[in-house]
Symmetry: none
Subunit: 218 residues, 4 copies
Amino acid sequence: MPRHLTENSPRTAPPEARRRQLIDATVTVISRHGIPGTTLTAVTREAGLSLGLVNFHFRNKDTLLAETLKFLAQEHRALWMRKTARTDLAPAEKLRAIIEAQFHPRICNRKKLAVWFAFFGDTTHRKSYRDISAGIDVERQEICAELCRAVIQEGGYHGICAEDVAATLEGLFDGLWLNILMYPDRFTRGAAHRRVLSYLALAFPRHGAWSAPAEAAQ
Amino acid sequence: MPRHLTENSPRTAPPEARRRQLIDATVTVISRHGIPGTTLTAVTREAGLSLGLVNFHFRNKDTLLAETLKFLAQEHRALWMRKTARTDLAPAEKLRAIIEAQFHPRICNRKKLAVWFAFFGDTTHRKSYRDISAGIDVERQEICAELCRAVIQEGGYHGICAEDVAATLEGLFDGLWLNILMYPDRFTRGAAHRRVLSYLALAFPRHGAWSAPAEAAQ
Amino acid sequence: MPRHLTENSPRTAPPEARRRQLIDATVTVISRHGIPGTTLTAVTREAGLSLGLVNFHFRNKDTLLAETLKFLAQEHRALWMRKTARTDLAPAEKLRAIIEAQFHPRICNRKKLAVWFAFFGDTTHRKSYRDISAGIDVERQEICAELCRAVIQEGGYHGICAEDVAATLEGLFDGLWLNILMYPDRFTRGAAHRRVLSYLALAFPRHGAWSAPAEAAQ
Amino acid sequence: MPRHLTENSPRTAPPEARRRQLIDATVTVISRHGIPGTTLTAVTREAGLSLGLVNFHFRNKDTLLAETLKFLAQEHRALWMRKTARTDLAPAEKLRAIIEAQFHPRICNRKKLAVWFAFFGDTTHRKSYRDISAGIDVERQEICAELCRAVIQEGGYHGICAEDVAATLEGLFDGLWLNILMYPDRFTRGAAHRRVLSYLALAFPRHGAWSAPAEAAQ
DNA sequence: CATGAATGAGTCTTCATTCAT
DNA sequence: AATGAATGAAGACTCATTCAT
């Protein structure tokens, strides 16, 4: 008997639920087998649904992949937007919030990192990533730059450029992610988090509290 | 008429030349179409050779990919080994040499970056990358750490850990590479190079000459 | 227009029907072109189905071949089991039934003989044949031996061993099949049948009625 | 260094020696991997020669196979001709000589049996076998029939037909060979030999000495 | 005579997509 | 909405054959 009939999902479900079910399965399968190994058969089996459904809820495989990426991008963006949009936090606190989002366990785990790097892996998907995420990436970097500018002003730092720090942070984010993905034994989420804060402590030494939160110190 | 007869390559060439010819074509094709798009047909067409030759000179596609990666890894390693192996250079100079190698035009161009990130893109090739390059990556990071240790001693720096700087550098290397690959308009090789040197200037301020060489300032 | 739409088979058929359709086509193609010549393209074209269907209903070519052999082995076994399982027949009658099965037109025709000998033809398929049919072959030989033992007891024959007669029969079965396959002009099914009965008439002369049935005398 | 240069065969050898070397290798490879598995690469490697030589000494693969079969057929024929051509032997003795040839260790071993049955395995090679061996097979059967006729006359046997015995013998020969090839544990050369003699003892009881020779009794 | 690199047609197999039910 | 059998294009790989050396 097909798995979906023995489980909690009814035979007909609201489209959004099915779409989400398929996206979750897609994330899982991509993380395990990469994009070329992400066959529709594998995705639907993972989701406990029938093969034909993908074509029904998404037009085709490319759309499924794009929607999956969109979902992850939004999930990530929402995490740092929650804090940076607040008016009661200091720039340095917001900067820390962005970094925390970057290394939040819901975002920075090998399953999801694998999906991001799957999209970085070839021209076609890189283009797709750009279409979907370039705006968010630019947005985050601009917010970072703006926050750095405020921090520099506050601290009266000289010889350091906000845009440069923001760009360096972007680089660190991606590179540390890659290290965690490639060599999980030598690079951990907590260490990566602390490393970024150490960098900011070097850049903005008079903003003392760059030490990592207990949560991420594990 | 087969292309190779119209060009300069003779009908039979020394094995190493053919292997190199195929590896070069593989780099080109991976950079254009990613690993899944790297069909043997595409590689041999790019090389101007016949389909069957891949399985003659390499056992199969996987071996071709592995040999291609090995070639790139060695090419990269050779570049920084040339300087770090010398005894007449100061630690800081060697550190700079490693960074220069990282952003050398022969290494850090979109074509070759695309190949690296192609291998990072899915589990299978990530494993293959690890088998081939983990040793080199660890070696480079250890050399960096050792050089940092020497620099720290020389400069009498406090509150900074050599291993940490080395790990941060690794992260920066990869992340800046990815940024160059993803957004070539916003991130350039020269800027990335300068950014890493800026980081070292923050970490080791008393080793003054971290400014980028004119060559990389373009 | 695909052939299956112009014929009586519907677009989707019960799995067992499709499997049988493909097995029948496989028998035909093996008999015509041998196992090496049995390409999936040839089989599906013969069945009037599309190439991909073989890997859908059977996992791969090897499985298709094994299932084809299983089908033939069962078909053959069923034929002699029908009679040897009965309790109202005398041993000699059962022995005759086995021989009749061996040379029954549904079994002993050049098309099916060609399939058997295709499997005998190389180590790989010989092994596959053994996995599938050794049990049936042993079973038949043991039943033959047991029946011979009963006949020997009934007839009070001396100087003849049941196991030996059974083994000789096995040899005759296979060898006469091969002769029919190789030289159909010089060796016919009927003559082969009569020849085996002649052998039994020599071995068990007091069980008179070993003459061939009219049916097989053609 | 190529194997052939390290062994006793010189770089250039008389054509006949090379041909024989290749035929021997072909027998070995067919017996191990069947005809489809008999690639020219495998044959030449087995012979310790270079790939191109096959094309030089034989026109192509088909010719190599045909020549191999011819060689085996002649080897077999020579064995029984040696005795049947003599004028000083009694018919029954000649009959025994043919049977001995059939189960001679040089002929009846799994390696060579595998080659015969490889040729029986598909239409194409069956045709090739017929072209090469039909004459020899008919010749042997006719000689057998003639010898049987003489024996029948000598013994004054009734109710038995020489042609029939000869045909039954042909069947037994092939079938017992197949049994030895398929189930070497249950069917041995010696037992097969004895079984044929037992059959003749039944057919021609007054020609007492049908018991197996010591040599074949192992 | 001998070599073995090079060629390319032909196989099996995978998988996105379609569509009758 | 949902199913999954069916299709066929495309890919990796094999191997007989050719031919320059």
